[in-house]
Subunit: 347 residues, 2 copies
DNA sequence: TGTTAGCACTCAATAAATGTGAGTGCTAAA
DNA sequence: TTTAGCACTCACATTTATTGAGTGCTAACA
């Protein structure tokens, strides 16, 4: 059977209707609302065909029909029209994001907030994984209570601080800090191996008199700090919107799923080309998402993927709008990251 | 009418039963399960009295009875037995908290996690507001892309970093940083007025050649950073447990309420004596919490309230357990904060 | 040959009728 | 004062009827 022009228009109409009402769509509604100039009987015949072809599903004999995952997939691939985001929305978005321009974390949080506000669904975003984290400065500060604070600052302005439970006087702390700084400054985190860290060993034991165990602790500690510098976090916004399209039990399962951030990160990273990526219902490998859709997009710095942004919603979400929103927001993030980390201001 | 011994025992039994089943409690159940040696008819009479006295509520004529807010209040004030937390639980708790001992944020997050795990309800915690935030060191680092990074480290090891969109070369950044450091080092954030910040003005313009507007920006910026140092955050854990004792609509309202962290902070801070504080149902001023109970406790550093920790759950929660858990966890936090910020190790 | 009016049929959802049982209050006897 | 006994209440569950939106099929029509 061929998916001809008319079938397509009917399928389109059914999807549109279902996105709006979330109720199974009957032949009469289609025949009346859309001026296809066809009676309900004809539509019925076509709908029977579309069902046979796998695009429609009938919940029960006397109900209307609901688009299948395949229908959404076809819609997304071939039928979806470009959604144009309103000028006002863009202005607001711009304003909101640029207000917080010099706090990385705030930008990321804000971006997920805006995404969920724009789409009305659950949004999530990972903090950037800057593959070019270059150490700009290291410092060790002596604190009260027998602790010292290691601070590592990267070229991009990311600050990692970590408390070391080791008592040093102000002077030793400064000396040790200077050794660490000298060794790591200018290096990229990727290039910092444990060997490099260990190379400080002699100098440290020369200049400071530390028990061997403390020395090893310090080296491990520095290495950990460097590793943690590349850690990414993930923010979830508006999880409660799940309640709008799920019953309590499913919602609870979803919430539980969203709590496991490690899994979530894996999920998002799986697809990483440059465009907006859509996974519809059963296309999701994760059981909990089988009747949701997941729309994700990357944001980048220097043409390299830096992080991920996405939306979880019902399969009948307004894909066009979600895609356009994600596209737009990710581009803004790109721009802001660029301004923040590379160029002064490109305009 | 007098709330005599027998009435009390019956009330106790009803509350116990209702906490377990969440179903209205009938006279037969009480007569059978508790060996009060009384028939259901007698219990019935007593229950009628207790209802008249405002301790019980009958959802409808042919239903059992449910404890009123007043009953819970009475229970909490006068009847509640001390709950003893299991040794194993304490050990686990200790292990979990001490594992992350040198990361303030992690401790706080972990504490809320443990609280919700222990009680099975929604937990929340504020990050500490350390009223003795003493500046240990300030630093200004020049970044790529025309930005500079101001870093302020406190005696307690809190690090505040903030990006300033001002292009400085490495040297000017160092000079400016040194001026800021000299001015603020050793001062407590409470004592840092804008006047103090402004006192740097002359020295800065002497040593660096900056346009007047940039100078003002810098001063404002430093002041902001100092103010933000005292900002507290609030973490919420296991919000999804609200679904266990609320219908979807109420749950949604609760979620929305929990999103407004400012309001939430206000709520928690309202009561601030040293003991565990309980607000039952209508005792809560906030509409959304009228049929929940809110149990909060402070944690402190140096005998001064530093932050707040709490649980939101149904009115029929196991108050004894929640109170004991909060009490225990808050004391652990006290201990860890003390170790971290003041003494080496008190043992 | 494609379209459509018409009709019998299906079945979820809603409403109405009915039964069940856990719970009550009251009374009268122990 | 306690309690057995009984009539009464009323939410909840179960059954039964009603409704109506939707279908598929057929036969007539353009």
């Amino acid at each position: 059977m061929e998916l001809n022009e008319r079938k397509l228009r009917i399928l389109q109409a059914i999807i549109d209707e279902y996105m709006g009402t979330a109720e199974p769509v009957g032949s009469r509604v289609i025949s009346k609302k859309n001026n296809l100039g066809l009676s309900s009987a004809t539509i019925r015949n076509e709908m029977a065909d579309l069902e046979e072809m796998g695009f429609l599903i009938q919940p029960h004999t006397s109900a209307g029909r609901v688009p299948s995952d395949a229908a959404y997939r076809y819609y997304v691939n071939s039928m979806m029209k470009r959604y144009k985001i309103g000028v006002k929305t863009i202005e607001q978005l711009q304003l909101a994001l640029e207000q917080k321009i010099n706090q990385l974390d705030s930008i990321i949080k804000k971006a997920s907030h805006i995404t969920s506000a724009l789409t009305d669904y659950t949004a999530f975003i990972t903090t950037p994984e800057l593959k070019i984290n270059c150490v700009k400065k290291c410092e060790l500060v002596n604190l009260s209570g027998g602790c010292s604070l290691l601070i590592i600052i990267t070229q991009a302005g990311i600050v990692k601080n970590k408390i070391l439970t080791l008592s040093l006087d102000d002077n030793s702390a400064a000396v040790l800090g200077e050794i660490i700084n000298k060794t790591l400054c200018g290096l990229c985190t990727n290039d910092i191996t444990f060997d490099i860290i260990q190379s400080m060993q002699n100098e440290i034991s020369d200049k400071l008199h530390l028990p061997p165990k403390a020395l090893i602790n310090i080296l491990d500690f520095v290495y950990e700090a460097i590793e943690e510098l590349d850690d990414t976090d993930i923010y979830i916004e508006n999880a409660k919107s799940i309640l709008k399209y799920n019953d309590i039990e499913k919602a609870q399962k979803m919430f539980t799923f969203l709590e496991d951030k490690k899994n979530l990160k894996k999920l998002i990273k799986s697809d990483s080309d440059d465009k907006v990526n859509i996974k519809i219902g059963s296309e999701n490998e994760v059981e909990e998402l089988k009747d949701c859709s997941l729309v994700t997009v990357n944001y980048s710095l220097n043409n390299k993927t830096a992080g991920h942004l996405g939306v979880i919603g019902p399969k009948r979400m307004n894909y066009a709008k979600v895609v356009a929103s994600l596209d737009c927001i990710s581009k803004y993030i790109d721009k802001i990251l660029y301004q923040l980390y590379i160029g002064e201001s490109e305009e």
